[in-house]
């Protein structure tokens, strides 16, 4: 059920001022691909193009083999912050994708309650976003993205604004949740360590072009963070980002 995402010669931006130029990237169905790059390097643009929110100026973009023509519930988006509707409670934010799809109210309750529970917010479902901490808000976003069983989840620096401890907990939550949901995940971050911890593969994006895509040794094993192979890759990615 998970979705393959393919960019072929993808370009975006104005001529003379490209944000992305000639990006070739194949995201395998069911993999967790992290995209790492410095700010302004086109990471968010790539993600928004994959979501169908931006129309490429060149090249093509495929989701499951067919061209991307606009946003779709198949590809859920998780924002860095401010993605929640502030007038809706936690529960009503999480049920939004189902409401948009006109799922009857009675059939929304089950999955909504389950997902709120899974992200650990069972006691907070009637709170408004402003009554939550930054980490809790990102938990809500995660539940909201996954409640509709999308085939791919696109995450735009979702933990970028969190403190280190909350961030580690959220990374763990993402990995736990993904054990069962085999959807494709594209995770954009500026943090190389986060990219290496979470990804099956890591794509390095700099200056609007794809520098490299590396398979990650020992993916998703926190204990392997200091393994020589991981450290070597880390050095390499950092060098690619600098050059």
């Amino acid at each position: 059920m998970s979705l393959a995402l393919t960019a072929r010669g993808l370009s975006l931006g104005h001529p003379g001022h490209p944000v992305l130029s000639g990006v070739d990237l194949a995201v395998e169905p069911g993999e967790l691909l992290t995209v790492v790059g410095s700010s302004g390097g086109g990471k968010s643009t790539l993600l928004r193009a994959l979501a169908g929110l931006l129309t490429p100026t060149g090249g093509e973009l495929l989701a499951g083999g067919s061209p991307v023509r606009g946003p779709s519930a198949d590809r859920a988006l998780v924002f860095q912050e401010d993605g929640l509707l502030p007038w809706r409670s936690v529960r009503r934010n999480v049920e939004l994708p189902l409401a948009v799809r006109r799922v009857p109210r009675a059939r929304r309750r089950g999955p909504v309650a389950e997902w709120i529970e899974r992200v650990g917010l069972g006691d907070h479902q009637d709170r408004l976003p402003r009554e939550l901490s930054g980490g809790q808000r990102q938990r809500v976003q995660l539940a909201r993205a996954l409640v509709g069983a999308p085939r791919a989840v696109l995450m735009d620096e979702p933990f970028g604004a969190l403190d280190a401890q909350t961030r580690a907990a959220m990374q763990q939550l993402l990995l736990t949740v993904r054990e069962r949901e085999r959807c494709t995940v594209v995770f954009v971050t500026h943090d190389v360590d986060e990219a290496l911890l979470l990804g099956d593969r890591v794509a390095v994006l700099g200056g609007g072009t794809l520098a490299a895509v590396h398979p990650v040794p020992h993916p998703r094993d926190p204990a392997a963070r200091t393994a020589p192979a991981v450290l070597r890759l880390r050095e390499r990615v950092l060098a690619e980002l600098a050059g």
Binding site: R48, A51, G52, L53, P71, S72, A73, R75, A76, L77, F79, D82, G83, L84, L85, P86, W87, R88, L96, P97, A99, V100, R101, E114, E117, R118, V119, G120, L121, D123, H124, L128, R130, E131, L132, S133, G135, Q136, R139, G148, L154, Q165, A169, Q172, L173, T176, V177, E179, R180
Partner: protein, 281 residues
């Protein structure tokens, strides 16, 4: 179902320490005292026939106005006038609210609408609604409709402009979120744009109801039959000065009550906004 065990207990955001504020009754008493002091000062200046550079000896005293007010409250005429003005405000303002929000959303969301409607709106906007009296007289077969039209014109522009700004200020991420759920334009409008713009719209409505009162009273004075504005001007032409002040006090009270109602409705609809430290509730 797997519940997450690794996650640390969700930290509740620290409640800010409640600032020491005077209790609601103290504040209410203070406000009543301010009004009483105003009336007291008025009584003092007028009863003593004070002539500084401005002359208070021609004005009716607060007590005289109070007595005239009491007298008028017992007449049918007072209440008919009140009902007339309220009906005009009600229809003009509601029409302005509906069309103003529609025009604001349209011009903010559609380039075509902005190009077609925008210039016309911008040219008509600076014309004071009360200057439309001749137009209203020519346009409408009856005075009544003309007054409602002027009331409408007064509130329409503040509502339109406020709505347009509020719609444009809605964070794009909210819209993107609903679009990536497969939401259509209509769904985005209903679930994101309208609720997201509501705080700004409420501001426009608040300004609009105030301007509406100014214009309904002026229109009644110029061309009205019945209504609080008409009665106030009528009192002036027959040298019934306390009557003029009863009219003014009535306008003040009605304006205060209606804008209070708009504010209250607005606050109820936008409860999700962070509480304002200086709010009067």
């Amino acid at each position: 179902m797997t519940t997450l065990q690794q996650a640390p207990p969700a930290t509740t955001p620290a409640a800010p320490p409640a600032p020491r504020r005077p209790g609601p009754w103290r504040r209410r008493a203070l406000r009543a005292a301010a009004l009483a002091a105003f009336a007291g000062l008025w009584q003092l200046l007028t009863a003593r026939h004070v002539r500084l550079w401005v002359r208070f000896d021609h004005l009716p005293t607060a007590v005289q106005v109070w007595q005239a007010f009491g007298q008028q409250l017992g007449t049918d005429q007072y209440w008919t006038d009140l009902a007339d003005s309220l009906r005009r405000i009600g229809s003009g303002f509601l029409l302005a609210a509906a069309l103003g929000v529609a025009a604001g959303v349209l011009t903010a969301r559609s380039r075509l609408a902005a190009d077609l409607l925008g210039p016309v709106l911008e040219v008509v906007r600076p014309i004071p609604a009360i200057a439309l009296v001749p137009v209203a007289i020519m346009l409408f077969p009856e005075n009544e409709q003309g007054i409602v039209f002027i009331t409408f014109a007064a509130a329409f522009f503040p509502v339109t402009v406020a709505t347009r700004h509020a719609v444009r200020a809605v964070p794009p991420a909210w819209e993107d979120a609903v679009r990536t759920m497969g939401g259509t334009r209509v769904r985005v409008l209903a679930s994101v744009v309208l609720p997201g713009a509501l705080p700004g719209v409420v501001g426009g409505l608040s300004v609009g109801i105030g301007v509406s009162w100014i214009c309904v009273i002026s229109a009644e004075m110029v061309s009205g039959q019945y209504g609080v504005g008409y009665r106030t001007w009528q009192a002036y032409t027959v040298v019934d000065y306390p009557g003029v002040f009863v009219g003014m006090a009535t306008i003040g009270l009605l304006g205060w009550l209606t804008s209070g109602a708009v504010e209250l409705l607005g606050r109820r609809l936008t409860r999700w906004l962070p509480p304002h430290p200086g709010s009067s509730t």
